[in-house]
Structures are given as structure tokens and as C-alpha cells.
């Protein structure tokens, strides 16, 4: 549902993961609609990717600094300019920010949300992360950043699937699904969306762990009690994100409310205004996915119940949850 703010899509992924190839083809297909402005961030001083994105209505290059850290001010200035132009009736309908391969999209989302002007004018519409299906297993073992990129994604785009080893591709598909159950996983070949092969349920899928992590990453799914009021859920979730926002990297789920189905999602403790979804109930309603470190499904459920003074799961008829998956 539109709230009048300018939708911003983040496209991240490691260096050489195929972000620009994917974006170029999606632009050719018109996947982002008319009036798209593309912001391209290149950590290097000499930009090249902007030459490839000629189908966009406007392209701005932010070169010479990664926009999640050193180039943060340049990004804010560029986005404020776009918002200003839109307020005057001449701006874009949507913005796609292609980050450099060195950027943490979660940090960018948190920075933008903390900007008092941009928070009022921009709506984060999704975080897309390109994963190089040929090199991802090696990158996962060597590069902590790719783990952070995966954790905050709404869509994981497996690129170069035509040249990837089929066994590696299946391992990535299943492993990424466990690492970030909230993300949609899709395949891409030269930027064209392709179907991924089906994988057996018992396929061994552990992905390489982040090099020297402080403790294991966890993906936990919390089924909210059916009789729990949404306003009460907000009390617990807001306290949790305030205290543990640095460790709970991502929360995503649909909470039923008086107004309807609310899509709630956070990145590193920063929560976007919930989106009201179409009224038809779906299987995953009332379920929150937590990604991060330092918690488990059991701890989350126990915390929810004791914080809100709810009866135990057994006495309230809730099914027992298995503990979170270390990924």
C-alpha cells in the first residue's frame, strides 16, 4: 500500500556478483516501471557501471566511497535532492540504489531511517542481494560481509546459475533458505530470471560459516500465540529491538491486527512503518522470523511469554517449537 513516500530498492551483493547485469536486464524488461532513477555507488573513483544502465530515466553515480560508511553523506545528499525534485513534481517514481560490493545494505537502511528528512520522504521497498552461484561458497568461507548481506535480504538472487556446479547450486539454494527463511530465493542467468531446480528436502545444505564469527548465526521462527493481541506483541518486540537491535539483524513477519495483516520488518533494530497487506490470510501469518546472533527459538518464546505475562505454551495449547537453526 502506498503512503506517498518515494519507494527505494537496495540492490547489494559482493563484488562481481552480477548486480549490474541483473539490474540492466530488469530495466530492459521494465520490471521497476516508469520513472526509475538509479543511484550507482562505486567504491572506486572511476565509475563504469553507470554506462550500462542507460535504460533508467536518470542515473546518478556516487563514486569514491562506499555509501554505507565513507560515502554516506553523498548518498543522503543525492536522495534529498531526488526527494526535493519529487516534491516539486519533477522527481522519479522509484529509486534503485545499486550499492558497491563492499557495502552492508543493513547499515545503509539504518542510516537512511535515522535521517529526519529522508525518513519522511523515502520508503524502503526491499533489499535485493545478488549471490554469485559460482563463487559464493568460497566467498562465504572468506568474507564476513557476504553473511551480513544475506541476513538482511528480502530477495536473494542467485546469479550465473547456468555456469554453476549443480551440486553447489542446490547446496546454496537450501543453505540460503535456512540462513534467511524470510527471503525469496530466485535464479538469474545473464540478468534473466530463471527457475531454480527443485531440491530434495534432506539435501545436505550447510553453508560455510563466517570467518571468525563471535558466535553462530541463528535463524529462528516464532509462532505468535493465536490469542495474542497485536498491540501487546509491539510492546515485547519494541523492547527486544531496543535492547538487542545490534544482535537481532533482521525480523520479518506478518502480524494480524484490527486493521488487517501487518507486514513488520526490521533491519538491525530499525523498523519500517508496517505495510498493510491484502486481507486474504496466508499460512505464514502470525509467524516472525528472526535472524542474528545470541538467541534461540526457545529463548524468544520464553521471553515473549514471561515479558507479557502469558500462560505457558503447553497450558495454552500451542505446539512446542524446535530450537533455532544454527546457520
Amino acid at each position: 500500500m502506498s503512503d506517498g513516500r518515494l519507494p527505494l530498492t537496495l540492490l547489494g551483493g559482493a563484488l562481481g556478483s552480477g548486480k549490474t547485469t541483473w539490474a540492466r536486464h530488469q530495466l530492459y524488461d521494465g520490471a521497476f516501471g516508469a520513472g526509475l532513477h538509479v543511484l550507482v555507488n562505486e567504491a572506486a573513483e572511476v565509475p563504469v557501471d553507470d554506462q550500462l544502465l542507460v535504460r533508467a530515466e536518470g542515473v546518478t553515480v556516487l563514486a569514491g566511497g562506499c555509501v554505507c560508511c565513507t560515502g554516506q553523506q553523498a548518498l543522503r545528499a543525492a536522495l534529498r535532492d531526488l526527494c526535493d525534485r519529487r516534491s516539486r513534481g519533477a522527481g522519479p517514481n522509484r529509486v534503485l540504489l545499486e550499492t558497491s560490493g563492499l557495502a552492508d545494505p543493513g547499515a545503509i537502511a539504518a542510516n537512511l531511517r535515522s535521517d529526519p528528512i529522508l525518513a519522511r520522504h523515502l520508503r524502503l521497498d526491499g533489499i535485493l542481494v545478488a549471490i554469485d552461484a559460482v563463487h559464493a561458497l568460497t566467498q562465504l568461507a572468506e568474507e564476513p560481509l557476504i553473511h551480513r548481506q544475506i541476513a538482511v535480504a528480502d530477495r536473494l538472487i542467485l546469479t550465473k546459475v547456468d555456469v554453476a556446479n549443480p551440486a553447489d547450486l542446490q547446496r546454496l539454494q537450501v543453505g540460503l533458505g535456512l540462513r534467511n527463511p524470510a527471503a525469496k530465493i530466485e535464479g538469474s542467468q545473464h540478468g534473466v530470471t530463471v527457475a531454480l531446480p527443485s531440491t530434495p528436502r534432506d539435501f545436505p545444505a550447510s553453508l560455510p560459516a563466517s570467518p571468525n564469527p563471535p558466535d553462530p548465526a541463528v535463524a529462528a521462527v516464532l509462532q505468535l500465540p493465536a490469542d495474542l493481541d497485536w498491540a501487546e506483541t509491539m510492546v515485547w518486540l519494541s523492547a527486544l529491538l531496543h535492547a538487542r537491535g545490534d544482535r537481532v539483524v533482521r525480523v520479518k513477519g506478518v502480524i494480524p491486527s484490527a486493521e488487517g495483516r501487518l507486514l513488520v520488518q526490521s533491519v538491525r533494530g530499525v523498523v519500517e512503518p508496517p505495510e498493510l497487506l491484502p486481507p486474504q490470510p496466508r499460512d505464514g501469518d502470525g509467524r516472525l522470523v528472526f535472524l542474528g546472533r545470541g538467541f534461540s527459538e526457545t529463548a524468544l518464546e520464553q521471553s515473549l511469554r514471561s515479558f507479557l505475562d502469558l500462560p505457558d505454551a503447553e497450558s495454552s495449547g500451542c505446539s512446542e517449537q524446535e530450537d533455532g537453526i544454527a546457520v
Binding site: 498491540a231 491486527s257 484490527a258 520464553q302 514471561s306 515479558f307 505475562d309
Partner: protein, 94 residues
């Protein structure tokens, strides 16, 4: 934003979502105040309705009262008053 009280401080605070009517909003706020007061009394703080503005009154038992606009601000102010955050994933909650 109200130029007198500065509320809401930001657009679309996520914890305010979900109410379909003014009645829903009032009932939700009453339930939240009840929980907040029960939780924070354990830490020596109390919470009440904001009164004439749509916020929460957070008070120490010494009498210091702070008006905060929304749930995230309640936890931030409570952390300031207590010198540590109220952590639902720590004792006595887990």
C-alpha cells in the same frame, strides 16, 4: 508534527500501526500502558497514559516524570533512567 508538543516525532512509528479505528487505538494504548507499567514497576519505574498528548508518562518513584511519544522512546528513556536497557532476552525473563 504538532508544533506545541512535537508529537509524532517521526512519520508512521511502527508500534502505532494496526488500529482500524480511534476506539481500537485507545484500547491498544490502554493494553500497552498496562503491560509497560507492570514490566517497568519491577525496575522501579511507572508508566501512565500521556494525558492531553498522545504519549506515555514515564516516571521514577522519586517523582521525575518524562513524557515520551511512543514505545521505542519508552524503552530508550527507561534505559537512560536505569542506566541499562530492559532486555527481554535476559533474566528475569529467560
Amino acid at each position: 508534527m504538532c508544533t506545541a508538543c512535537g508529537i509524532p516525532a517521526a512519520p508512521g512509528v511502527w508500534t502505532e500501526a494496526g488500529a482500524a479505528s480511534a476506539g481500537d487505538r485507545l484500547r491498544a494504548r490502554a493494553r500497552q500502558v498496562r503491560h509497560l507499567d507492570r514490566i517497568l514497576r519491577r525496575h522501579g519505574l511507572t508508566v501512565a497514559e500521556g494525558g492531553t498528548v498522545p504519549g506515555f508518562q514515564l516516571a521514577r518513584l522519586t517523582g521525575e516524570v518524562v513524557l515520551v511519544p511512543d514505545l521505542p522512546a519508552v524503552w530508550a528513556e527507561a534505559a537512560r533512567m536505569l542506566g541499562r536497557p530492559v532486555d527481554p532476552l535476559a533474566a528475569p525473563y529467560v
